[in-house]
Point group: C2
Chain length 257, copies 2
DNA sequence: CAGTGGTCTAGACCACGTG
DNA sequence: ACGTGGTCTAGACCACTGC
């Protein structure tokens, strides 16, 4: 604990009582630095981050302060603590985590086999509503893909997905067709985009003729419409997804606390 | 701080290394004791609980341990910390909290005036599905009420609510009619039931003729169907609520973390 | 000013996972 | 046996609230 250069700290331990005017606790500053490292890709999804003692040394604070910063990141599901092993960066490549964002569950509780069929994937100029949601300049390029998800051979979800074109270069129907696994896992590994949080708006709508045909239900059937905006580190929107769910034998589950 | 009887602690500070076999950290035990006090009504909704130092003395542990127990209860929204003032028992009598359980929001973001009309309220023998969800013996008495919620004079939510009859004695259409405010606030003040958590299952359905008439939409319109089971302390189910939402100008909002 | 919760530290010890 | 995160303590000091 000598006078090592505080490469990761803006201020020395002394001037901590800035009083009034935007007071920010130390552990929040540490949390910010950890977030920067995550965003920068210093530690990749699935990897472990340095131990609490190492981080404490690096940031010149006590272990307890680092711990509190990590606690918050863990409670936001950005990090995962495993006693005896270390702290790991959350990843969408895990069976357990696949249902963190997919809230549709079978009414009878039985697990089912899922399948995905890409309907199309094109690069287009962003429509006004999409560019607003993705915080892009109007007319900027986006990737638009549509896919059909099935459970036990039954068409259940029709997704219409929009991604910023500048980030998702080289994403084509073909590359998607080759890939097996959760889409957010692909985004992580191939494009360095970690989805960290999402907001959903849900409505009930009637199926159009096209939608009814694809989902193999009667035209005019009631469908669940889910509009999702997903965010990566720093609350940067990275995906707009409009899903239509057939809720005949499935339901959207939610917990209120 | 002498050798007061440890009325609230099963074990002395010494035997804390029971090792293996159901090891439970001290702060979890403290959390359990706090939950018991809340359940027992020792501190009522809206009131403050004893200070951390008082509780530490009572339970014969350090302030830090009490703090960690309270931290968890606060993160579950059972308690509310207010710096400089104290820690308070959460209550549904607060404008802020009214939207903790109501997830329906207007598409245009504008606040609207809400109204409630009780359609009927009867005591009946519980149907099989309800008694299962409420963990009652089959045929036990329940209160069944239906109501219509409006926003800006527009019918929007049709609720069908089931409550255990043994707990909600004296709940009638008349007493409900007199009451102004959130239903969960009434449950708190009049029946000592604090709703703490809820699980929802959401589907899209088509409006029946009766439902369509009450909600003033076309028969067959798509509606959001929300089935909620609400729990009080100790995960005891205390309400089943089946709601039908008109999502023409409103949406169900949800955050995924 | 006193009392409350909030932050930060330093150190001891425990539980877990891996050699 | 060692290193990791998890618990618990004791004490100092800070920020907010209300008298």
């Amino acid at each position: 604990m000598s006078d090592a250069p505080l490469t990761d700290r803006g201020s020395a331990p002394a001037d901590r009582s800035a009083s009034s005017a935007a007071f920010s606790p130390l552990y929040q500053q540490i949390k910010g630095l950890l977030l920067q490292s995550l965003d920068r890709g210093e530690w990749k999804p699935g990897e472990s981050i340095p131990s609490e003692l190492e981080l404490a040394a690096r940031f010149q604070v006590s272990q307890g302060t680092v711990r509190k910063a990590i606690d918050e990141l863990a409670s936001e599901n950005l990090l995962l603590r495993r006693q005896g092993k270390g702290t790991f960066v959350a990843t969408h490549h895990e069976a357990k985590v696949r249902f963190r964002f997919l809230r549709l569950a079978p009414d009878d509780g039985k697990q089912s086999v899922s399948g995905s069929r890409i309907l199309d994937c094109r690069r287009v100029k962003a429509p006004a509503d999409i560019s607003t949601l993705l915080e892009l300049r109007s007319g900027e390029a986006v990737v638009n893909m549509r896919r059909l998800l099935t459970f036990d051979q039954t068409a259940t979800i029709l997704d219409d997905i929009w991604l910023p074109g500048a980030v998702f270069r080289g994403l084509t129907a073909e590359s998607l067709g080759r890939y097996r696994g959760p889409l957010y896992g692909l985004f992580e590994s191939e494009y360095g985009v970690s989805m960290v949080r999402a907001e959903e708006k849900i409505k009930a709508v009637s199926a159009s003729d096209d939608q009814a045909r694809l989902l193999q239900v009667a035209p005019g059937s009631a469908l669940l419409q889910v509009e999702r905006v997903s965010y990566t580190y720093g609350d940067r929107p990275m995906e707009v997804r409009r899903g239509l769910y057939v809720t005949e034998r499935f339901h959207y589950r939610n917990s209120l606390n």
